[in-house]
C-alpha cells in the first residue's frame, strides 16, 4: 500500500527526515511512535502533500506509484487521508457541506457522477452514528468552536465518509478524554479492512490499547530506528525513549 524509501526531507533548510524507510501493506495497522521533534508530524504531512516541506531524496510510493509530485487533492483522490493533529477551523462552511464538496470533488476526479443527495444523507447519517456525533453538530461551521475531542471525532467521521485506502492518524489521541478515545478508536477499528491500511502516529501508548497495531516503529531523529510488534509500544510506555536514544548513540 505505502512504501517509503530512504526519505530525506527538510523545512526551511533544516533537515527533519534523514533516510526514513517504511513499508505498510494493505490490511495492516502500523504505529509510529517517537519523542517530540523526531519528525512524526513531518512524516504525516509529507505523505499528505503539504508543500512547506521539501523532499530532497527518496520516494513515497502508493500502491507502487510515486506520489511525491502530486498535489494534496490528487493524493486524496487516490485514497490518502490524514487525520490532522490540529484540525483547521473554517467558519461559514458546515460539516455537512464540507463533506459533500469533498466527496463530490473526489468523485469528479475519479470520473464518477456526483453522489445523489439521498445517498449522501444516508451515508452522513450512518457515519455520524458510528462516531456518536449529534445531528446538530453537522450543521455547525467546520471545527469552529469545537472542543479538542469534537475536532478529533470529526476527523475520524471524515475518514469514515472518505473511505481512504491509506489513513494516517496524526496524534489523534491528543486532547481526547477516555470516552472520546473509545469512540474514536471504535470508529477506526470498524473502518479497518483487508483493503486499506492505517498508520497511527502517536506519542503515547494509550491509543494502542484500543487500536491494536500489527507493527510498531520508533521514529527518532528523522529515521525509523527500531521496529517490532505491539509489545514494543508497551516497552516504550514503561521505559520511555531514553533507552532507545542510548542504543542509537552507543
Amino acid at each position: 500500500m505505502l512504501e517509503i524509501k530512504d526519505l530525506h526531507a527538510s523545512v526551511e533548510g533544516k533537515e527533519i527526515l534523514k533516510g526514513l524507510n517504511l513499508k505498510v501493506n494493505a490490511g495492516e495497522i502500523h504505529a509510529v511512535m517517537g519523542p517530540n521533534g523526531a519528525g512524526k508530524s513531518t512524516l504525516a504531512n509529507i505523505v499528505a502533500g503539504k508543500e512547506d516541506y521539501e523532499v530532497t531524496k527518496g520516494e513515497i510510493l502508493l500502491e507502487g506509484e510515486d506520489i511525491e509530485e502530486l498535489a494534496p487533492e490528487e493524493r486524496a483522490h487516490k485514497g490518502v487521508f490524514m487525520s490532522f493533529q490540529y484540525p483547521v477551523e473554517i467558519p461559514g462552511v458546515t460539516v455537512t457541506n464540507f463533506m459533500k464538496t469533498a466527496i463530490n470533488e473526489t468523485r469528479k476526479a475519479q470520473g464518477l457522477e456526483e453522489m445523489p443527495a439521498k445517498d449522501m444523507l444516508k451515508k452522513i447519517r450512518e457515519k455520524s452514528e458510528l462516531l456518536e456525533i449529534d445531528r446538530k453538530f453537522l450543521s455547525r461551521s467546520l471545527n469552529e468552536g469545537f472542543s479538542g475531542g469534537e475536532k478529533k471525532r470529526n476527523e475520524i467521521f471524515q475518514m469514515a465518509m472518505m473511505e481512504p485506502k491509506l489513513a494516517i492518524l496524526d496524534e489523534t489521541d491528543s486532547g481526547l478524554d477516555i470516552d472520546a478515545l473509545r469512540i474514536v478508536a471504535n470508529g477506526v477499528n470498524r473502518l479497518k479492512s483487508e483493503d486499506n491500511a492505517i498508520v497511527v502516529i502517536t506519542h503515547y501508548q494509550r491509543l494502542l490499547d484500543h487500536i491494536v497495531p500489527d507493527y510498531v516503529h520508533v521514529l527518532y531523529d528523522g529515521k525509523i530506528v527500531k521496529s517490532g510488534t505491539k509489545e514494543l509500544a508497551l516497552e516504550l510506555e514503561e521505559k520511555g525513549y531514553d533507552w532507545i536514544k542510548e542504543e542509537i548513540n552507543a
Binding site: 473554517i90 464540507f98 473526489t106
Partner: protein
C-alpha cells in the same frame, strides 16, 4: 471643453426638453448653479482621497441619448432575476423601455419618474419628498439639475408590495461614450413593505458613466429591502448616491454586491429621524484586474434607542483597489444607540489595495458603538486542510472566499436572488461547485 463645461452648457438644451414652468424646474436651475460652483470632487477632498475621477471624466460623453434603442428580452434575460415574478422598470440608454417593463398603479405606484414629474396626481408626493434629502454636493446637484427619468415607487400606508421590483438600467453602447443620470424616488408609507433590486449593465465596450441618485423615505414601521447588483463590465463606471430617511421603528437594509465595473463609488447615507429604527448596510465586494470599488457610508443617529449594523466584506485580486469609509454620527440626544460596523478584507495579490477607514463621531455617552476592520490573506492551513480532503486548490480558495462572505449572503431575503448571487460568485471565482452552505 471639459466635461463640466459641457454639462453646464448642455443645461440650456436640456431645458428645451422639459416643462420649465413646473416648480421642480426651480430646483433644477438651482442645482446646476451648485454644480457649476462645486464641480466634480477631487482627491483633495477628504471623502475622495482614495478615489480619483480624473480618468473617468476625460471621455467625451454624450449627455442625451440620440435615439431610442430597443433590445429583445431574450438577449438580456440574464441580467434579470427571471425565475421570479417581479415588477420591472427598465431603461435603455436612459430612456424608459415600456416593452421590457412591467409597472403598476394598482394600490401602489411602480412607474417612471418622468410621469410622476409631469402628472398632477403625483404632485403632493413630489412636493413632499423630491430632493429633500439628496445632499447638495457637486455630483448630486448635477444629477438633480438633469433629473428627468428614473424609477418612481410609492407604497401608501399599510400596503405590502405584492412582488419585488427590479430596476434595470441597460446601456447599448450605440453612443461612443455615454453619461447616464437616473433619478429615483421611493416613498414607503407607514406599515408598508417593499423589496427592490437594482442593476446597471453596459452591453458594449464603450465607456459609460452613471451618476445615479436615489432618495428613499421609510415612514413609521415601514420596511425596505434594497439590493444593488454591481457586476458591470470594465468600461462602465458608476457613482451611486443613495439617501435614506427613516421614521420611527422602520427597518431599512441595503445590500451592495460589487462584483465588477471600472470605477464604482457608493455613497450610501442613512438618516434616522425617530426612535426604534434599524438600519442595515451590508456589502460584498469581489473584484480583480484594475477595478476600483469605494464604499462611502454614513449613518446619522439623531434619536435615542436606534440601531445600525454595517458589515462589508471585500476580496481583492490582481491590481484591484478597494476603499471603505464608514462614518457613524451619534448625536448627543441619541442615547442607547447601538451602532456596529465591521469591514473585513482579503487581499489575494501583492498588488491589490484596500483603504479602510472607520469614522465615529459620538456625542452621546450611553451608547454601544463598535467598529472592526481586518485585512488578511487566505489561510494557508485551511487551504491545505481542504485540499487534503480532495478539494482542488481553486475550489478550496473559492469555498474559503464564499464562506468569508457568507453571513452577508445569508441576510438576503429573496431566495432566488440569493441563488443568483451565489452563481455570480461561483462564476467570478471560476468554479463549478454548488454553494449552498
Amino acid at each position: 471643453m471639459g466635461l463640466k463645461d459641457k454639462l453646464v452648457s448642455s443645461f440650456l438644451a436640456f431645458e428645451n426638453t422639459v416643462n420649465v414652468d413646473a416648480p421642480i424646474h426651480d430646483i433644477r436651475s438651482q442645482a446646476i448653479k451648485v454644480f457649476e460652483e462645486k464641480g466634480f470632487p477631487t482627491k483633495k477632498e477628504e471623502a475622495w482621497k482614495y478615489t480619483s475621477l480624473n480618468a473617468v471624466l476625460k471621455h467625451d460623453y454624450s449627455i442625451f441619448p440620440k435615439e431610442e434603442n430597443a433590445l429583445e428580452f431574450k438577449d438580456i434575460k440574464k441580467y434579470f432575476l427571471y425565475d421570479l415574478d417581479t415588477y420591472k422598470i427598465v431603461f435603455i440608454d436612459g430612456k424608459y423601455s415600456s416593452h421590457l417593463s412591467e409597472t403598476t398603479h394598482d394600490k401602489i405606484d411602480v412607474c417612471l419618474m418622468s410621469s410622476a414629474l409631469s402628472h398632477d396626481k403625483y404632485k403632493p408626493v413630489i412636493d413632499n419628498y423630491f430632493n429633500k434629502i439628496a445632499r447638495q454636493d457637486g455630483l448630486t446637484s448635477l444629477n438633480t439639475a438633469f433629473s428627468k427619468e428614473g424609477a418612481y415607487i410609492y407604497i401608501p400606508k399599510n400596503k405590502l408590495a405584492d412582488k419585488p421590483i427590479q430596476i434595470v438600467h441597460l446601456s447599448t453602447g450605440k453612443e461612443s461614450a455615454q453619461m447616464l443620470q437616473p433619478r429615483n424616488l421611493i416613498v414607503v408609507e407607514e406599515n408598508s413593505h417593499v423589496q427592490i433590486i437594482e442593476r446597471h449593465q453596459s452591453l458594449t465596450d464603450n465607456p459609460v458613466l452613471t451618476n445615479s441618485v436615489t432618495e428613499i423615505f421609510v415612514d413609521k414601521r415601514g420596511i425596505v429591502d434594497y439590493y444593488k447588483i454591481q457586476n458591470d463590465n470594465e468600461h462602465a463606471s458608476l457613482i451611486d448616491n443613495t439617501f435614506i430617511e427613516q421614521q420611527a421603528q422602520s427597518v431599512a437594509s441595503v445590500h451592495t454586491f460589487a462584483f465588477g465595473g471600472n470605477l464604482t463609488r457608493n455613497n450610501l447615507n442613512f438618516y434616522q429621524k425617530g426612535e426604534g429604527i434599524d438600519s442595515i448596510l451590508n456589502g460584498v465586494t469581489i473584484i480583480e484586474g484594475k477595478q476600483h470599488v469605494d464604499h462611502n457610508t454614513l449613518v446619522h443617529h439623531t434619536e435615542p434607542n436606534c440601531e445600525s449594523h454595517q458589515d462589508y466584506k471585500g476580496i481583492f485580486d490582481e491590481k484591484a483597489t478597494g476603499v471603505f469609509n464608514g462614518k457613524i454620527i451619534v448625536d448627543k440626544i441619541a442615547q442607547k444607540t447601538n451602532a456596529f460596523q465591521s469591514n473585513n478584507n482579503i487581499l489575494l495579490s501583492d498588488k491589490a489595495t484596500i483603504n479602510s477607514k472607520p469614522q465615529l463621531e459620538i456625542f452621546a455617552d450611553d451608547v454601544k458603538c463598535s467598529h472592526g476592520c481586518t485585512i488578511g490573506q487566505l489561510d494557508e492551513n485551511a487551504l491545505f486542510y481542504m485540499r487534503a480532503r480532495g478539494i482542488g486548490e481553486k475550489e478550496a480558495k473559492a469555498l474559503l472566499m464564499y464562506a468569508f462572505a457568507n453571513n452577508v449572503l445569508e441576510s438576503v431575503k429573496i431566495p432566488q436572488l440569493k441563488t443568483r448571487i451565489n452563481k455570480l460568485i461561483a462564476n467570478k471565482l471560476g468554479v463549478d461547485i454548488g454553494f449552498d452552505l
